[in-house]
Structures are given as structure tokens and as C-alpha cells.
Symmetry: C2
Subunit: 443 residues, 2 copies
């Protein structure tokens, strides 16, 4: 095997391309980076002797197949719904496939074909999903080998702004897909506590957050993800009494975000009529039913939320500009799209801003008749707004896994997520060289 194909050269590809080129040089491989915008691809390869940037319109089957046929391992950083086209070509030409996306049902259905072609299609090989699977499985398996009986597993992750670059009242900036942040938690969060299923509807999710301690970092807030039960069977935790996956935010975030939910501004199900010419002030006014004629918009919002008009939440809302009389300027936009548009201006990473990823797993277990708790924490900061921790933590696991395939170190075949020892051990080991270290603390 000599040739690696990376499809997609966007923001999340930077760390992956850099790592893969350096490995290519070492092992005498060749890396092709293909993108709809060939200049972006070429800029990221930057004249490297073991790589080239090229143009690819992934919707053109012949072009796609030509380039896949000439490589051995394919990494797809395309939008998730496009992976399946690449996957089918990979089966046809017998190429391995790696992505950082959630594995779709369609992809799982290819499992038998992938197996009989003796290929591996690895999905969820980034940060979350990705490093969360690997680090959790490593500790779970270690505990099991010791004979521990797991009673609770709580896993939290958050993409945040580093404290030294935190200069806004929300203590948050966008370090990843803003749309996912705006729509986060919609539906009903489900998890298990002491053997009972818990359901927290969206309209209470952000008011009933919990406070968690991140060793060395202090207190943060966490709210349960929409489904904590997704990987119960995959992790072998079908009988665990307590299981929760949650999202980490800085203190004060959840209560203020809840205000936006309560007003109705995260709703993505209908467009606001005439949104382009409305002001933010008018938009918010449209969510308030009662008007005694004597109160300001801010007073009415505070009143509806049953909070003080000078509270921290109201200050955060005001800072966002939702009471401003400036025009929204977006046509036929849903409330969520309008909110995203506003937040993208307010929560933008400045060039020198460093992001910060926190991931923490908490395990309660019984070992030799004793009740024990273990906390495993990883904190990583980026260098600036291009070389982000997020880009490294998504790109490096992909790159390392590609290397393992190229070196023939992966025996597994079929459609997988990285929960097997032959994958997580070498990947987590090498990630440590890049500062990705999980520190264990006993509670």
C-alpha cells in the first residue's frame, strides 16, 4: 500500500493533512488531497514532496471512482450524507475507508460486503465521536479485567474557549459547527440513573443542568445529551445502573441559554415571515404575549422568564443584541437561523483565540467489595483560531488510524467504530505525544 486519499480540505482537515504528509515522508507514501476547491487543497499540501492537492467534484461518479481506484486508503471529510457514495466505490475497488462522522444505517448495511471484501470501514474516528469511544473503552476494559463491577458511567465533553481568551459574558465562542450548537438538545434527553430511565424534555434541559468538577479546572455545567443510551450495547454496558453522556459548558451558560429556549429563539421548524426587514427587537417582541403598554421589551422578557431585569441572564441576553433595533437582514429564516446568524458575529473566534476541549469520564464501580470512583480527564488547548484543539483532536485520530492501516496493523474488517483494543491502544498511545493525555483521579 502506497497511496492515501483525503477527500475534503476544509477547516477540519488541517491537522489531518499535516500529520498524514509527515507520515508519508517517513514511510514513502503519497497523499492526494481532493477538494471542490483545488486551491484550498494545494495550499494545505503546500508543495510537500509526498503530496498533491487536486480538484474533485464528488458528485461526478467517474471522477470519484478514478481517484478512489488509484489509492489504497480513503479518508472522507465530506458532509456525512455523502460518505455512502464514497463507501460504495470503496467496496467496488477494494479500498479501506475512514471517517469522523456518525455511522449511518445505510453504512451499517454495507457491513457484510465490507467484511467479505476484507476491508475495514471505520467511522466515528474523530473527537466526539471518536476519542470518547476509545478512552472510555480503554478504561472500561481495564476495570473489567481487574474484576470491577461497573455501576455508573458518566461521560462529558465540551468544545470551549480557553479561559485566557474568554472575554465575553457567555464564556463561550464557536469552535465548531454553530448550527449544531444552536440546535443542541432538541428532542428529549434520555439516560439511566440507578436502573431507571430518565427523560428530560428540551424545555427543561438547560434549567436542570448539573454542576461537575473538572480536576484542575474548577466547576463547569453539564446537560445530558439527547441519547446517552446509544452506545450502551457497543460498550458492553447493557446492565449498568447509571449511564449518562453530557455536554460541558462554563458556569452561567445553561441558565442563559435556557432563556433563549424559553423565548422560542432556538426553534428551527418554521420561518419568520418578513424576517429580513424585522429588527431583533421586533423578533423578540413577537414571542411575548402580554403587553401592558408601560413596560420595556427587556422588562417584559425578564417578567416572562420570572427573573430580575438586572440579572446575569438578562445581561447576557442584552450583550447578544437580541433587544437591539438593528435589522436581522436574513430572508425567510427560522428563529434558530436568525439566532445562529447573530451568535456567529458575537461568538466568533478572534485570530489569536485559543479553543479548549474538555473530556471527562466518571466511573463508579465495586472492586473487591469496595466502592470506588475514578475520574479520567483530558484538557487540550489550541494554539490559535486555525490550529485549534478541535481540529487536532478530530484530525489526529483519523491520521493515526490511517497509518495503522497502511502499516498492516489492523486485523478487524467490516464497518466499525473504534471500540476494539487493537485500535484504541495504539491510537491513544500516539495521541499522548500530541498532548492528548487523560489524567486519572480517584474521587
Amino acid at each position: 500500500m502506497k497511496n492515501i486519499l483525503i477527500i475534503g480540505a476544509g477547516r477540519s482537515a488541517t491537522a489531518l493533512i499535516k500529520y498524514t504528509l509527515s507520515q508519508a515522508e517517513k514511510h514513502n507514501w503519497f497523499v492526494t488531497v481532493a477538494d471542490a476547491d483545488p486551491e484550498v487543497a494545494e495550499r494545505k499540501v503546500n508543495g510537500h514532496t509526498h503530496g498533491r492537492g487536486t480538484w474533485l467534484d464528488v458528485m461526478k461518479p467517474n471522477d470519484r471512482r478514478d481517484i478512489i481506484e488509484r489509492n489504497d486508503v480513503v479518508v472522507s471529510l465530506l458532509p456525512a450524507h455523502l460518505h455512502i457514495k464514497v463507501a460504495k466505490d470503496c467496496i467496488k475497488y477494494k479500498k479501506h475507508l475512514v471517517t469522523a462522522s456518525y455511522i449511518s444505517r445505510d453504512m451499517y448495511r454495507l457491513g457484510e460486503q465490507v467484511k467479505s471484501a476484507e476491508l475495514i470501514f471505520m467511522g466515528e474516528m474523530g473527537l466526539d465521536p471518536g476519542i470518547d469511544h476509545m478512552s472510555a473503552m480503554q478504561t472500561i476494559n481495564e476495570l473489567r479485567e481487574k474484576g470491577a463491577e461497573l455501576q455508573a458511567f458518566r461521560s462529558y465533553a465540551g468544545g470551549l474557549i480557553a479561559p485566557e481568551c474568554d472575554n465575553n459574558p457567555w464564556h463561550y465562542k464557536f469552535t465548531w459547527n454553530p448550527r449544531n450548537v444552536v440546535l443542541a438538545g432538541q428532542g428529549t434527553a434520555q439516560y439511566i440513573e440507578s436502573g431507571h430511565y430518565k427523560h428530560i424534555p428540551y424545555h427543561r434541559l438547560f434549567s436542570e443542568y448539573e454542576t461537575i468538577d473538572i480536576p484542575g479546572m474548577g466547576e463547569y455545567e453539564a446537560y445530558p445529551n439527547r441519547s446517552s443510551l446509544l452506545y450502551r450495547t457497543t460498550y458492553g454496558l447493557d446492565k449498568i445502573p447509571s449511564l449518562l453522556r453530557g455536554t460541558i459548558r462554563c458556569k452561567g451558560f445553561c441558565e442563559a441559554w435556557n432563556a433563549l429556549v424559553q423565548i422560542g429563539l432556538t426553534d428551527d421548524t418554521y420561518p419568520i415571515i418578513g424576517s429580513k426587514k424585522l429588527t431583533y427587537h421586533q423578533l423578540v417582541d413577537g414571542y411575548l404575549r402580554r403587553n401592558d403598554g408601560n413596560s420595556t421589551l427587556k422588562e417584559r422578557v425578564a417578567d416572562m422568564l420570572k427573573i430580575e431585569k438586572n440579572s446575569e441572564v438578562m445581561k447576557k441576553l442584552e450583550w447578544l443584541g437580541i433587544f437591539d433595533r438593528s435589522k436581522i437582514g436574513l430572508s425567510k429564516a427560522t428563529p434558530a437561523q436568525i439566532l445562529q446568524h447573530l451568535l456567529e458575529q458575537k461568538w466568533k473566534l478572534e485570530p489569536k483565540d485559543k479553543d479548549m476541549i474538555i473530556m471527562q469520564h466518571e466511573f463508579d464501580y465495586k472492586l473487591n467489595g469496595k466502592q470506588e470512583s475514578l475520574v479520567s480527564t483530558m484538557v487540550l488547548k489550541g494554539n490559535d483560531s486555525v490550529d485549534t484543539a478541535m481540529s487536532r483532536l478530530v484530525g489526529l485520530p483519523l491520521g493515526i488510524f490511517v497509518k495503522l492501516i497502511m502499516l498492516g496493523k489492523i486485523k478487524a474488517t467490516g464497518v466499525n467504530i473504534p471500540v476494539m483494543e487493537e485500535v484504541y491502544t495504539p491510537v491513544l498511545k500516539e495521541l499522548e505525544d500530541y498532548g492528548v493525555v487523560f489524567k486519572e483521579t480517584k474521587k
Copy 2:
């Protein structure tokens, strides 16, 4: 024209069949009542000389077409999604069609074919939709003819229990489709107030109800329907500054229903795992995040709702049985299905119970430079749990309209709802003989 076909002989057909048979006798017509259960059909026709009950499986195209071909006007009381099959046969055999259901897009698409066959397909010809359209249009057109400039139109309706039969703390019983009551308001309510669009998300809908006065009846609560804007153009109200359609409930209902919404019990989007063996107590517990270990379930619910544990709302919840330790007994049920199952036992009409329909339109307008308001109110009670006001108010408009077609009094063709003068004037006039009287009050 001699023959009338009524498809469906269920609960909502009683008043329609009775009325149509009496008209058939008078005009020497013949009424065929067809149902999947021929005994029900025969029982309702009850040996009348001008009618017969018969079996029909509406999913069998040949049977359906045979029976439609032998009639002149068809009334379909089938579930709404089945009307379209009947409609296509009606075009083929050139038969008129009448239903009480909302007109679907597919039905509207038949408009041109129906027109060129010189037929009328009338939908929304029951109570709500039905009488609401007719009574509103009559007053709107009268006001317009006088030269009034309409500034606000608010229309409210509710199917309630008559005060003399009201013997539960919710002051509510099911007089119509329970599922619709449980899911009412889901989504975002939209209306217009003083020229501005208003959006009230579901999680605030029942806490921000308004209080309305029903002349002669006292105060009731009303919450805005999901879309008040649906008939804006049809009613010719495109430029009206305030437009709202709402649902009427007795005082105290909305705040208590809001408690069920806040807990999460009206959610119909996911099944509760193991619902059959759970108790109601366990179900509700699953919606509560925090447990200090010292509080009862009731105390924790009151705490989450931020209300007193001895409040009226808590008494209503307790009366429903949601804190009981009895088994739910329903498999794979959504929270909404479980709640419906419980409510069907608690809110059941007793044989002698009388239901009560309230419909009220409120108009604000300028006439001759003066600001005026007009309130038009209809209140009708049923006789018992079979001869309900609901069944009469759905069946009589259908029956009267069928008579008008049979007598050749309808000139309109195409797919319609009853907003034209040639329909609403004679229908509303005759409804008065049955006690359906709108009383006008000036505010």
C-alpha cells in the same frame, strides 16, 4: 336526484342520519348508510322506510364504486385520509361529496376536475371546522356591507362538559377525539396582534392563556390555536391587524395542563421503554432529574413546577392518578398515549352527562368614525352522552347542506369550504330551529 349515501355510521353520524332520514321521508328520497359494521348501520337506520343500513369495506374499490354509482350525493365520515379515494370515485361517477374534515392538499388538487364535472365537493362542513366558518363569514360580510373597517377578529371554540354535569376538579371531560385533546397545541402557536406576528412556543402556551368572558356564562380560559392565520385569505382578512383563533377551557384547566406539558407527559415522539410494567408513579419519577432522597414524588413535582404542594394544580394532578402506584399496562406507549389512556378513564362521559359547545367570535371595527366591538356567542348543550351537542353540531350542518344540494339550491362548483353566502345563510337559518343560535352582544 333521489339517493343519498352516508359512509360511516359511528358516533359522529347519529344526528346526521336522523336528520337525513327525516328529510328523506319529507322529500321522498332514499338514504343508504354504509359501514364496515353493518349492524351499527342498521341500528342507526332503525327500520326507517326511507333508508337502509349496509356493509361496506371502503378499501375494496369495486364495492365502493358500486355503491357510490347508485347514489347522487355522498357524505363521507371516514377518517380524513380515506376521503380522497371516495372523492376520485365521485368524480368518475359524477356525484357530489360532503365531509366534515379539513380539506387536504390532495383534495384541493381535484378542484379543476370537480368544477368541470359541475360537481361540488364541500369539506369542513361540521362544527369546527364548519359552523365557525359560516358564522364568522356571515358577521364579517354583514359588517363589511355596513362599511365597517375590521380591526380585530378573535374566534374561540371549545367542547366542554355542561356545568351541571361537571363533577371533577379539571372541569373537563372528553366529548370528542381524546388524542387531539392530548396533542393540542404542539408546535408553535401563531397569530397576529396589532399588525405584528406573534409566536408562542408550546412550552409556554398553557401558562400564558388569556381569560375571556362568555356572556351569560362567565369567565373561561383560552389559548391560541396552532395556526390562526390559516383562513386569513379565505375570509378576506389579509390586512386585518389582529387575528386569533383559540380554544376555550374552564378556569384552572390551562395551568394544570401546563403542568403535564412541563413534566413531559404530552410528548408523542418516543415510546417509554418497558411502559407496560411501569407504574404511573415510576413514569413521572423518570421525568424528574434531581432526587435529594428525602422528598416524595409529589413534593419533587411541585418543586420542579415551582408551585405549592397543596395547590389546585397539584390536586388536579393527584386526582388524575399520575402519582399512583398502579401499573400502566400499555406496551411500547409514548408518554402521550399513556396520558390519553389515563385520561380516558378519568374524563369519560357518564351516560347521563351533557356536553356543551361554546363558540364565540369577537370583532373590533371602525364604523362611521366610531370604534365598535361585537361579540357573537353560541352555547349549546347535549341531552346525554349519545345525543351530544358535538354530534348535533357536526351532523346537522352536513345534513342541511346535503338537503340543499338535493333540492338544487347550490350553484357553486369545485372543492370548497362553507364561506359563501348561498351556503351559510340557509344552513345557519335552519340550524336556529335546532337551538344553534348566535347571540350578539355589543361590548
